[in-house]
């Protein structure tokens, strides 16, 4: 038989006409395929977009493209935190070697040293702040200044301190009524100090010994106001200049960069908002955010209403900050702005903070424009020097003082906890906190020990050797301790703490020393896998004992969540298409069985088997392609509509990170369309297969059967 288009044409004609003839069947099969394809297209576009968002979030904020860390580490690297604690990594003793070796690997653009940890930080103390003001006044008075404004402020500042002390004493008394004997014993000295500071006699005698009185307040009373003044800060110790250059998402939002080679910290802006900001202001921000971005209302949302209520009941925090002069000014401003006839500041504050959906925006503006300039909104300010205390690996607490140069934000991740909680600390301070020493320092100490005839004690056991174990007591001490390791470490250090902040470290000093891990930035992000292998070969050749992981692996649980999304999506897709397969197969088998006579006739008349099977396959594939394409279009439309509607809003901090911004703007992935069409075709061929076999087995004899 000569090849001819005739059979093909008639085949298509019969196939398509059959589709229209069996409309119900075609529509049912079509609907299933339509939904399936739409889901695949929209779903995988979403997952791809999340993947892309996360990729840029993770790569651009902390991970880079690859990470290396010591392959003898107990835990795996988890840049965004592991399960409830920081992973334990074996230190990389000399970063400069790593940098030297890995920089030479093709496509590696930058090698950024890192060490991530969390530690306690004192968030400042209202009494300290108030005392600082008094001390400044005293300094001027002692210097002979006597103008009225100064004296008036001096009196106000003293009154402020006195009021705080009185409040503290009252709190302690209230606690005493509830406490047991042991606590009373422990707090005996504190109680006596407070009683003395709150007594009129102390303030009457203040002027006779201004400096002595101040010292008493600073050393004995202020520490008692510390309760709740500690918070945890999570930071990455790094070469700050290299970090800010390598991670384009990080930018200084307030203050400035830490000058090159200096010690200093850039606090995470998100962290500052969440943990360091005046709670009243923070709650106002949250209410505003809920109203503006989450379409919640004070009237209609319990949580938002609770924030408003908390703001009205907790004005004490604001009052506590204001000295009498400031308090008077604040009251005057509020009376004008609200406006109100009220004389009493606490009541004015309640008026200001008891907001409704109608007046919230106006009162929010009043708070920030009129009241906030009188307040210290953040417990740590740019320019402050803070003390960070971290447990070193030995179990000691090391403490360093670092200057806060500014706040750092991660672009696109402004509201994300995962990125925003991170602060950036200079590498030298980080090393001090860990008790890690530079190779030179290690060498020097070894030398000193030899000279002193000291016994070699593993660092982990040093404490036990020295004190006979138990580190808990150390933590409760606030004053700097003296311990041998620290002293030994300080011997190697040329300068005192005050001088350290001014010291400029050379790049060599920064590089030569301990890190925990390092981020690699590539010049071509599409070559991650290939470069990872090259890096691994290079580190192996140099004997560096490094483990090379990609950004996704390095980000721990966070990085794996995209894989999880994908698994969930594809499982759903798999189920849908498996169901589709069964249903389509079933429908086609039924349809084929109903057409046995017709098929037999075609065969009798002279149609070959392949004509018949071809006809059935064309039927299923035509349905699949048509409805598959329609479904893909529907999925694309869904993606487009989501974009047009402004994307999927990130309802919480985690989503904000996954979406790499306030909303997920999905883009249609060409691969997702291709994949879905591929799946649809596969399903149609598979489901058309069995009916086609049935059709092939139909003999022309079937055509002869009589009607019954």
């Amino acid at each position: 038989m000569a090849p001819s288009l005739g059979p093909a044409r008639i085949l298509l004609r019969i196939a398509f006409r059959n589709l229209f003839a069996g409309r119900a069947k075609t529509l049912i099969i079509g609907a299933i395929l339509l939904l399936g394809t739409a889901l695949v297209v929209a779903g995988s576009s979403l997952v791809e977009s999340v993947d892309r968002g996360m990729r840029s979030s993770i790569q651009g904020s902390l991970a880079g493209h690859l990470q290396v860390y010591d392959d003898r580490s107990k835990d795996e690297l988890a840049l965004y935190g592991g399960m409830g604690r920081e992973p334990q990594l074996e230190p990389v003793v000399d970063f400069s070697r790593v940098k030297e070796v890995l920089s030479r690997v093709p496509h590696v653009k930058r090698v950024v040293p890192m060490g991530i940890d969390q530690a306690m930080v004192a968030t400042g103390n209202q009494i300290d702040v108030a005392l600082e003001k008094v001390r400044a006044d005293v300094r001027r008075i002692e210097a002979g200044e006597r103008d009225d404004a100064l004296l008036r402020h001096y009196q106000a500042h003293k009154d402020h301190v006195r009021r705080m002390v009185t409040l503290l004493r009252d709190e302690l008394r209230a606690a005493r009524a509830l406490a047991d004997d042991q606590l009373l014993q422990d707090r005996k000295q504190a109680g006596e100090d407070l009683a003395r500071a709150a007594a009129p006699a102390f303030w009457d005698g203040f002027e006779r010994d201004r400096l002595g009185s101040l010292e008493f307040l600073e050393n004995r009373v202020a520490p008692q106001g510390m309760e709740g003044g500690m918070t945890i800060v999570r930071y990455v110790g790094t070469d700050l200049d290299a970090f800010l250059e390598a991670f384009d998402r990080a930018y200084v939002v307030e203050g400035q960069r830490v000058p090159k080679g200096r010690r200093g910290i850039l606090l995470g802006k998100w962290y500052a908002e969440e943990y360091l900001k005046l709670k009243t202001a923070r709650r106002l921000d949250k209410i505003k955010d809920a109203r503006d971005f989450q379409r919640r209302t004070i009237a209609g949302d319990e949580e938002v209403a609770r924030w408003v209520k908390e703001n009205t009941t907790q004005v004490k925090e604001i009052l506590y900050q204001l000295d009498p002069i400031q308090a008077e000014e604040a009251a005057a401003r509020l009376r004008r702005a609200l406006p109100s006839e009220e004389r009493d500041l606490p009541k004015l504050l309640v008026q200001l903070l008891s907001t409704t959906d109608q007046d919230f925006d106006r009162k929010y503006a009043i708070f920030y424009d009129r009241l906030a300039p009188l307040l210290q909104l953040y417990s740590i300010r740019v320019g402050d020097t803070i003390t960070i205390k971290a447990p070193a690996r030995s179990g000691y607490f090391n403490a360093v003082n670092v200057k806060v140069y500014g706040f750092v934000h991660f672009r696109g991740l402004e509201k994300s906890r995962l990125a925003g909680v991170m602060s950036l600390l200079d590498l030298m301070s980080w090393r001090d906190l860990y008790g890690y020493l530079s190779p030179e320092q290690t060498e020097e100490i070894r030398h000193l020990k030899q000279v002193a005839g000291a016994q070699a004690v593993p660092r982990e056991r040093a404490e036990a050797e020295l004190f006979g174990g138990g580190g808990a007591a150390v933590e409760s001490q606030r004053a700097s301790r003296i311990d041998e390791a620290a002293v030994l470490a300080r011997i190697a250090r040329p300068a005192k703490a005050e001088d350290l902040s001014a010291r400029v470290y050379s790049q060599r000093e920064i590089d030569r020393g301990v890190v925990l891990n390092a981020a690699l930035i590539l010049d071509d992000p599409s070559r991650i896998a290939e470069t990872a292998r090259a890096v691994d070969r290079a580190q192996r050749a140099a004997g560096l004992h490094l483990k090379v992981v990609d950004w996704q692996k390095a980000s721990g649980v966070v990085g794996q969540s995209v894989s999880l999304f994908r698994i969930v999506l594809y499982t759903a897709v798999l189920i849908i298409f498996a169901v589709a397969l069964v249903i389509i197969n079933n429908a086609m088998v039924m349809a084929t069985l109903q057409r046995v006579r017709e098929i037999g006739t075609l065969r009798a008349i002279g149609a070959q088997r392949r004509f018949v099977t071809g006809m059935l396959l064309v039927e299923t594939m035509a349905v699949s392609l048509f409805f598959g394409a329609l479904g893909a279009a529907l999925g694309a439309l869904a993606v487009w509509l989501i974009r047009a509607a402004g994307g999927i809003p990130a309802g919480n901090d985690q989503l904000y990170f996954f979406f790499s911004g306030p909303a997920l703007l999905p883009t249609l992935g060409t691969t997702s369309v291709a994949i879905s069409m591929g799946i649809v075709l596969l399903v149609s061929v598979l489901s058309g297969f069995y009916p086609a076999i049935i059709a092939m087995r139909v003999t022309p004899v079937e055509a002869m059967a009589a009607d019954d």
Binding site: M1, I605, T699
Partner: protein, 233 residues
């Protein structure tokens, strides 16, 4: 006159589970070009089996069936199909038109399978045949829009369109009333006379039988006799 079909001592046995059902038991028959032959017999006598064997839709258990000189047992499935396509036309008891195709397309169908003709040639040939069967005005109708007699006339046209040497009709009038049945048989005979196409049809209806040139009677899988009838005009 050479035999277009020769059946030599053919047996055909069907298997129904473990029991063997003999449908044909040693049948011999020769059909010559231009014949208009009826196979008559009660149902279950083996008429349909005989037609299936001659129509190359089935092969004998023993014996030889030659169609157009070819031993059907020796042909592959594909070759048999091709033989049916080019040499044999079929008319079925239940008409068996393709429901989704129009009258014209149903008739044109074998030509498309055969290939080789231009669109114009196909149109002319289908048109002529539709005129011959009296359905020129119904070319665009679907089978479901036609009466039983009209459908069978479409089937006759379809059977003849490929210019077969042999047309097989298995009980072509069984689903029609007797008047319509008679006109179908007359139509078939007209075609037989017009083109000298050989016709073999089965029936159990005496009145239909009377229109044939000759009748072979079959009972219990065996041919009884071959009678030449004078009834033909």
């Amino acid at each position: 006159m050479s035999a277009i079909v020769s059946v030599e001592n053919v047996t055909k046995t069907y298997h129904l589970g473990k029991t063997e059902v003999p449908a044909l038991r040693g049948v011999s028959l020769e059909i010559h070009a231009g014949e208009f032959l009826a196979v008559a017999g009660p149902s279950g006598s083996g008429k349909t089996t005989l037609l299936n064997l001659i129509g190359c839709v089935d092969t004998p258990t023993a014996g030889v069936v030659r169609v157009d000189g070819k031993d059907t047992s020796a042909l592959s499935e594909r070759a048999l199909t091709d033989l049916r396509l080019r040499r044999i036309g079929f008319i079925f008891q239940s008409f068996n038109l393709v429901p989704v195709l129009s009258v014209f397309q149903n008739v044109e169908f074998p030509l498309l399978l055969q290939g080789g003709l231009t669109r114009g040639e196909r149109q002319r040939r289908v048109g002529e045949l539709l005129q011959a069967v009296g359905l020129s005005g119904h070319a665009r109708h679907r089978p479901s829009e036609l009466s039983g007699g009209q459908r069978q006339r479409v089937a006759v046209a379809r059977a003849l369109v490929g210019r077969p040497r042999l047309v097989l009709a298995d009980e072509p009038t069984a689903n029609l009333d007797s008047t319509t049945g008679a006109t179908i048989i007359d139509l078939m005979r007209d075609m037989n006379q017009r083109d000298q196409t050989t016709f073999l049809f089965s029936t159990h209806d005496q009145k239909v039988m009377a229109h044939a040139h000759a009748v072979v009677r079959i009972a219990d899988g065996q041919l009884q006799a071959r009678e030449t009838l004078q009834a033909a005009s």
